[in-house]
Amino acid sequence: MALTRNVSADGKVVTIKINGRFDFSVHQEFREAYDLGRGKASDFVLDFANTEYIDSAACGMLLVFRDAVGGNSANIGIVNANHEIVKTLTMLQFHKMFKIA
């Protein structure tokens, strides 16, 4: 399983954990993960603790994800990302669109 999904007890916080490489191959799974029960969720957390690498296609998927869950009003946090991933996201200025912790 490249991806696991966790919902808080009140259904408000959806945590998606991506394992291994985050690239186009997890596209379908990733979409299902945030589409599922989207109505109730107000916050999304992407846990990159086990994510080795993110490619540009996955960065594109992040933008689609952000649009799907509210665009500018979306509340998305990225946690536990490794140094290289943070660098990539910062290079793309994604720290201005996602809360990177």
Binding site: S56, A57, M61, L63, V64, E84, M91, Q93
Partner: protein, 593 residues
């Protein structure tokens, strides 16, 4: 030969009804029966025909091979022991003839020794039946092979279809690649001061490299990296290359090109697809490097003097095609560079190259190359070498894009546009422009004026020279007339950078002042005469003294005046020195640049 009673029970013949499966096919299976014993042959033929099958029966191995060719049966029942060409040999021939289609061959034999039966399969048979034949077993085997044969056919046709698709796809890629290559063809990349490594599959990796010169001689270079791979990544390169090449040739500065590309991509790209890019302008004559970086790794500058990293441009902007253009910061950063300095651009394929242990080459390793004191002329090769050493045999460097630009004031456009149209017949016309301080603050009107000039008289073959004259006069009026900048600033070390910083500072604060430009064209024999007059509301300058200095070759500045004079028949100043008028003559046939 010596066959025991062939068919176990003739009565059972009647029991054998055509089965659905064997009949389901549009055409009944055609079975080739090979046996040298006429009785057995006939019995078998009757049996098979009762099953609804079409039968061709022959009495020898040689006949079997011949009728295999003519009849093209779907399956063969083959006696082993026959005089002349025996069953094994006939099978061998038939296998050769049937190529890659699947023709089941079942041996009919009186042998019962296990080793001999195994031999049947070793010699190319798919199965065997021992005499006497049990009709039910025979039918079951034929059904099983018929099914297998259908399966084989389906797989084969799918394989062929796939191969065909693959072939088409490859062809389409080749065509697309040809189109892309033409669009991407940037004559600027042939400059002797540019070295680059671009994967042959770059276009389908979404990588984009463009270089072109502005009419005023500055080099524009763009490195881009589209999200994803394949055609979807490549498709955006066409509009981007068109905008970049077109606007650069018309003299537009980087910020306007960035805005235009973003605008276009924002409109055409689906969400999730974007272009990480760096665009730079190198004005080598004025030691000025400007860049806009959005989403690609740092541009690194190697200083020739100290043989060390001399500066960098870091991504501070969103990649193109994500944000609305009014939310995108299109401004460039600038720094001073010196002749001989090296500018390096690369995609993330360089720092993210991996070795067999899956370790990254990393930005740190890349930058280490800049701190080892290499001669500037070898650094590019050194980086590629380090990269190769690091990767070892792990991967080919086919997703590495690396560019080196040398700051060389003498480098210029290696190839003039050969498809420039001839000028229109000379006519009388004029156009005037007046720019207030407000419009000058946020807008560079040179490309627009050039456009008018080029469109009206179609003087494309004279573009570079006319641009130079217009730009010199206009920038003099702006920088010295209105902004009162002192050229002597440029002579100090680091002065170029300071000069341009000061220019930007003063321009931002410019409150009053105007520049008037008047273009006047007149017929002159078989050609024309273009008069460019630029007037500013500044205090002017002592042009008499400047001109005298130039005569005596004493002036430290005013190279612009010399340059204008080299292509114009006259250059005159009037008023307090705040009005300049240059006359550029042209004739048909001259001026190919």
């Amino acid at each position: 030969m010596n066959a025991p009673p062939a068919i176990k029970a003739a009565t059972r013949l009647a029991d054998v009804a055509p089965t659905e499966m064997l009949m389901a096919q549009s055409q009944p299976l055609k079975i080739l029966v090979v046996d040298d014993e006429a009785v057995f042959r006939t019995l078998l033929q009757n049996l098979l025909e009762k099953m609804g099958l079409q039968v061709v029966a022959v009495g020898s191995g040689a006949e079997a091979v011949a009728s295999f060719m003519h009849e093209q049966p779907d399956m063969v029942l083959m006696d082993v022991m026959m005089p002349g060409v025996d069953g094994y040999q006939a099978t061998e021939y038939i296998r050769d003839l049937s190529g890659d289609s699947f023709i089941p061959i079942i041996f009919i034999t009186a042998m019962s020794d296990e080793n001999e039966l195994a031999q049947c399969v070793m010699r190319g048979g798919n199965d065997f039946l021992t005499k006497p034949i049990n009709p039910a077993v025979l039918q079951a085997k034929i059904e099983a092979f018929s099914q297998l044969r259908r399966l084989y056919k389906a797989v084969k046709s799918q394989r062929d279809e796939l191969a065909q698709h693959n072939h088409w796809l490859k062809r389409e890629y080749e065509i697309a690649e040809g189109v892309f290559a033409k669009v991407m063809h940037s004559s600027g990349l042939n400059s002797p001061n540019i070295k680059y490594m671009l994967s042959p599959q770059a276009i389908f990796n979404g990588d984009l490299l463009l270089a072109a010169y502005r009419p005023s001689g500055e080099l524009h270079l763009m490195l881009g990296d589209f999200t994803g791979h394949g055609l979807s990544a490549a498709i955006g390169t066409i509009p981007v290359a068109d905008i970049f090449n077109g606007m650069t040739a018309k003299g537009f500065p980087i910020p306007e090109i960035v805005a235009e590309i973003n605008q276009k991509l924002q409109r055409i790209l689906p969400r999730g697809l974007f272009l990480a890019a760096a665009l730079m302008e190198l004005d080598a004559k004025n030691h000025k490097l400007s860049a806009w970086v959005g989403g690609v790794p740092d541009i690194l500058i190697y200083g020739a003097e100290h043989k060390a990293l001399a500066g960098r441009f870091t991504s501070t902007n969103f990649p193109l095609g994500i944000m609305e253009t009014d939310q995108l910061d299109c401004h460039v950063e600038s720094m001073e560079v010196r002749p001989g300095d090296r500018i390096f651009l690369y995609t993330d394929g360089v720092p993210e190259a991996r070795n067999s242990d899956h370790a990254l080459f990393s930005q740190a390793r890349l930058e280490q190359c800049f701190n080892d004191g290499y001669e500037p002329s070898v650094l590019y090769e050194r980086i590629l070498w380090e990269l190769d050493q690091f990767r070892g045999t792990h991967e080919q460097s086919d997703d590495v894009t690396l560019i080196e630009v040398t700051v060389d004031p003498s480098a210029n456009n290696p190839q003039a546009p050969s498809n420039a149209l001839a000028p229109r017949p000379p006519s009388e016309w004029s156009a005037s422009f007046e720019f207030s301080a407000e419009s000058l603050r946020g807008y560079d009107p040179l490309p627009m004026m050039m456009q008018v000039l080029l469109e009206t008289q179609r003087l494309h073959q004279h573009k570079q020279r006319i641009y130079m004259v217009l730009a010199e006069l206009f920038l003099n009026a702006l920088e010295h007339g209105l902004l009162k900048l002192d050229s002597s600033l440029k002579e100090r070390t680091g002065g170029f950078g300071e000069y341009y910083q000061e220019k930007e500072r003063r321009l931002a604060q410019l409150g009053v002042g105007r520049i008037k430009v008047r273009l006047r064209h007149a017929v002159n024999g078989s050609g024309g005469r273009l008069t460019i007059r630029v007037e500013d509301t500044g205090p002017g300058f002592d042009f008499q003294q400047r001109l005298e200095q130039l005569e005596k070759n004493q002036a430290l500045h005013g190279r612009g005046i010399t340059m204008i004079r080299s292509v114009c028949e006259s250059l005159d100043y009037s008023g307090a020195g705040n009005a300049a008028e240059a006359v550029y003559p042209w004739r048909f046939g001259d001026g190919s640049e």
